[in-house]
Structure formats: structure tokens, C-alpha cells
């Protein structure tokens, strides 16, 4: 069974509920690089509540991945 994919021309991320841990987590995979991140419930709730400005800051390519 293939996992659902959230995709656009800019990025491609597969999404799965992972039950390997002691409670359920969201497993996200960047299909372009294979990088995987798990998010637990409190982290997801936190992302929902990030204000748009903070989220925009995180999208700045020099913020993490291409910091130089």
C-alpha cells in the first residue's frame, strides 16, 4: 500500500501514521531526498498554532537547509 502524498511542483511529501512507537506519530518523508521526520501530537498541535509570520520565516531557504 502506498502512502498518501502531499505534492506540488515544488515539493513532494508522503504521509503516514506510524505506530512503531509507544503512541501514534505522523511520519513524513521528503520524497525528493528521502529525509524522514516524525511528529508527535504535541508537535503537530504546535505547528497548527504557529502564526503565519513564523511559518513564513521557516520557509526562508537560508533559515535551515541552505544556510550557507
Amino acid at each position: 500500500m502506498t502512502d498518501p502524498v502531499v505534492e506540488s511542483e515544488f515539493a513532494s511529501v508522503s504521509v503516514r501514521l506510524d505506530t512503531d512507537g509507544n503512541s501514534v506519530r505522523l511520519r513524513l518523508e521528503d520524497l525528493r531526498t528521502g529525509r524522514v521526520r516524525h511528529l508527535d501530537a504535541l508537535e503537530l498541535e504546535t505547528i497548527i498554532w504557529l502564526d503565519d509570520g513564523r511559518l513564513t520565516q521557516l520557509l526562508d531557504p537560508s533559515h535551515e537547509r541552505w544556510r550557507g
Binding site: G21, N22, S23, D40, A41, L42, E43
Partner: protein
């Protein structure tokens, strides 16, 4: 009824515990006096290495489980980098219990009272409405931590004392018994993730610790399970047995049944089965250990009591934790051997039969523990006897004191170490 047996009068120049603990007798008040229990918490449970759980209970990063360390509710966590921590389940703000679920997966914990939030390493990462504290990161607070955490073959121990002997020093010769258990896995690894049963027991914890290597009682107390299952184990605990009871030092002791199993030389006799019933396991053992596989399969798993609270009983593990002078909890789980699915299924079903809610082994022992607690509150005679086999003890080739299969050598070793700890100056 919670009568306290009057302590024996203390003669001048002798410590309280050398009065209460003799080479061949121990005083009843050791099991009933709440002031002695309070001192045990300080000098044993909040100081020495105490078994808490197993790394396999937190297999994934950010997994956690709630565990008991004596009177303390602790959270065993695995952080993002894989390191295991023991946090004390108490908020640094106003002392609320932070985690309530028995287990979960979370990188951080948020206290439900005012929302203070901690990393799963215990560090405070933030609090709501931070202006009240002059901004972010203004508080040097965090959840309490068990200061020393160490593991051996995945068995996690905690010590509430910042200094003291290392875990290896504490385990001493008992470490070899854990190795023996792990050596029955073709991959050299065990896990304790089959789930723990929790048995509340109205008895002083020491009755359990002493009983675990008491080879004198099985024929009486466990007659019914031996009879129903046709187990050959009962016969190993008699005066004609070649098995030995060994004082391993530091309060640890074992019933070493290997001499008997070596005589029979039947692989898996210790487990009540034969190689043809678990062929893949036997093949995997031969693959991993070659010629030595046969010896391992003949000699079987250890029966060892590791002071003060870890009992490995061949196929299952007990975690004993005290609650009050007359109450403790026994947590029990089946051993699971990595790379041995055929064995693991059997270990779980055997454990259900022996220590499950309707199991026949632990229920029988527990009946004795609770009656023991009631009996010892009676005033006469004041002493319990621990002299069995004192006249026939000897020293084995490794320098350990050994007695016969039914002798109280293990108990005497327990009391020796107990006395050392209780008499130690702070």
C-alpha cells in the same frame, strides 16, 4: 492490623542493626517497624542501584513509559538521540504530576496545570505568558532527574545518589547471570516488552527478596503447579539434589540448577521442552554459537535475585518495588529472546500460566508473603530463623559461599549486605 513488633533492646556499643541481624536469626521488627522502612528508603532504595525497566520498553526515539522507583513515580524516556533518561514525574512549577498515561511517544511534556513544557530530557523549554517571569528562558528550573542512570544488557537501573559504586561494581558476579540469560538468544539480546503485570502485595519487600532463592519452599508451596504441569523442577529442590544455593555477594544470590541439568544432559530440559519442538531456535543457536550451543541449551537460564529488586526466574523477570512497610508491588513479565520467535510464544504462555492473573506460581508465593506479614506481627517468638545449612556451607572455586539446594545461604547473603548498607554513615 499493623502491630509493630517491639525491637530488641539495643546493647551499648552495638549498632541497632547488628542487634537485629544475627548470623542465624533476624528480628521480626525488621519487617514491621515503619521507622526501619523509612530508613531503608534512605539507605537502600534512594541510594543503591535499583532496577527500573528495560531499554526495549522505549524502542523508538521520544518513547516514554512510567515506572516506579521505590516511592518515586519516574518516567523512563528515550530522547531524540537515543539516550535513556529517568525523570521524576513532578512539575517544577507547583509540583503537579506531569505524565499520566502509562506510556506514549512525545518529544516534550506539557504540564496540564499551567502549561509549563519540558523536553523529554527534563529541561524546561518554556512556559505560558512569559512576561510574568520577565521574558523567555528566565527560570533555572526543570523536572527532577534520577542522578545516575546506567544499563547492563538493556536492563536499566537508577540510583538516586549522585555518587557511589558504579553499576558494574554493584552487580559484581550477578552480571554474569544476566549474560547467561542473554546468551540464550541467538542474537545475544533480550527484550522485556511483552507487557508487565502488576501485582499489589500486602507484604514487606524483604520477604520477596529472601524467598526468590529459597529452595526450601517449592515442594510445599508449588506442589500444585508442579503436579498439573508435570514439571521436573520440583525434584531439584530437595536434600538429594546436586543444585546449589550461591551467595554472589552484594546481597545477590542464585539457585544454581546447572549441576542437575548437566547430569541429565538434555537440551531444553530446563524449559520443559525438547529440541524437536523448537527446531528453528535450536538451529539458530547452533548457527550463532557452534559447539557451545549445546551447553547453553542444557544449562538453561539463571535463577538469580539481584539486590534489592530484580529477580530473574529463568523465563520471567520480576521487578519488586516497596510501597510501605507492609506493602509492595511485584511487576512481572516474560523474557523475550531476540531471534527466537518459537521460544518467545512459549515464554509468554508459560508466564501467563505462572504469573498471570490466574497463574499458579506467583499466587502461591504471594499467599505465603501475605501470611508471612501477618504472622510476623505476632509477638512470640520474636525471631525468624535463617540457619538452615549453616553447618554445611562451603566455598566454591570462585570464592563464593555455597549451600545445598534447600539451604538459606542466599538469605544470609542478603542480610549481610543489608546490614552493611543500613549501618553505613551518610
Amino acid at each position: 492490623m499493623t502491630a509493630v513488633v517491639q525491637p530488641a533492646p539495643v546493647a551499648t556499643g552495638q549498632s541497632r542493626y547488628s542487634q537485629l541481624i544475627r548470623p542465624d536469626q533476624v528480628h521480626g521488627s525488621l519487617y514491621t517497624d515503619p521507622t526501619i522502612f523509612a530508613e531503608e528508603l534512605q539507605k537502600i532504595w534512594h541510594k543503591t542501584w535499583v532496577f527500573v525497566g528495560h531499554e526495549s520498553e522505549v524502542p523508538q526515539p521520544n518513547d516514554y513509559v512510567r515506572k516506579q522507583l521505590a516511592t518515586q513515580d519516574v518516567i523512563m524516556t528515550r530522547d531524540r538521540d537515543g539516550e535513556v533518561h529517568l525523570l521524576i514525574n513532578r512539575c517544577a512549577h507547583r509540583g503537579l504530576q506531569v505524565c499520566d498515561d502509562a506510556s506514549g511517544n512525545s518529544s516534550s511534556f506539557r504540564c496540564p496545570y499551567h502549561g509549563w513544557t519540558y523536553r523529554n530530557t527534563g529541561e524546561l523549554l518554556g512556559y505560558p505568558y512569559n512576561k510574568g517571569y520577565g521574558g523567555k528562558n528566565k527560570l533555572e528550573l526543570g523536572m527532577g532527574k534520577v542522578p545516575r542512570v546506567a544499563s547492563y544488557q538493556g536492563f536499566v537501573f537508577g540510583s538516586l545518589a549522585a555518587d557511589g559504586p558504579s553499576l558494574e561494581e554493584h552487580l559484581g558476579a550477578a552480571a554474569g547471570e544476566i549474560d547467561r540469560l542473554v546468551g540464550l538468544s541467538p542474537e545475544g539480546e533480550v527484550s522485556l516488552d511483552a507487557g508487565w503485570l502488576r501485582h499489589r502485595t500486602r507484604s514487606n519487600w524483604k520477604f520477596l527478596a529472601e524467598n526468590e532463592t529459597d529452595g526450601y519452599h517449592p515442594q510445599f508451596v508449588h506442589g500444585s503447579i508442579f503436579g498439573v504441569t508435570g514439571s521436573p523442577i520440583g525434584a531439584l529442590y530437595s536434600d538429594s539434589s546436586t543444585a546449589v544455593t550461591r551467595n554472589l555477594g552484594n546481597g545477590h544470590s542464585e539457585n544454581d540448577l546447572r549441576p542437575e541439568f548437566r547430569n541429565f544432559a538434555e537440551p531444553l530440559r530446563w524449559f520443559g521442552t525438547t529440541p524437536d519442538r523448537v527446531p528453528q531456535y535450536v538451529a539458530a543457536m547452533q548457527e550463532s554459537y557452534g559447539d557451545d550451543a549445546e551447553r547453553r541449551l542444557i544449562e538453561g537460564a539463571p535463577h538469580v535475585m539481584i539486590f534489592p529488586n530484580l529477580f530473574i526466574a529463568e523465563i520471567q523477570v520480576f521487578n519488586i518495588q516497596p510501597v510501605a512497610v507492609g506493602e509492595c508491588v511485584q511487576y512481572a513479565t516474560a523474557v523475550q529472546l531476540a531471534g527466537a520467535p518459537e521460544m518467545n510464544k512459549r515464554m509468554v504462555s508459560q508466564s501467563i500460566g505462572s504469573v498471570g492473573p490466574a497463574g499458579m506460581l506467583l499466587a502461591d508465593d504471594t499467599e505465603m508473603y501475605e501470611r508471612n506479614q501477618r504472622g510476623v506481627q505476632m509477638l512470640d517468638p520474636e525471631w525468624l530463623d535463617v540457619r538452615r545449612g549453616l553447618q554445611r556451607e562451603s566455598i566454591d572455586e570462585n570464592g563464593f559461599t555455597i549451600g545445598a539446594a534447600t539451604d538459606e545461604t542466599g538469605m544470609r547473603g542478603f542480610w549481610q549486605h543489608y546490614r552493611t548498607l543500613m549501618e553505613a554513615e551518610d
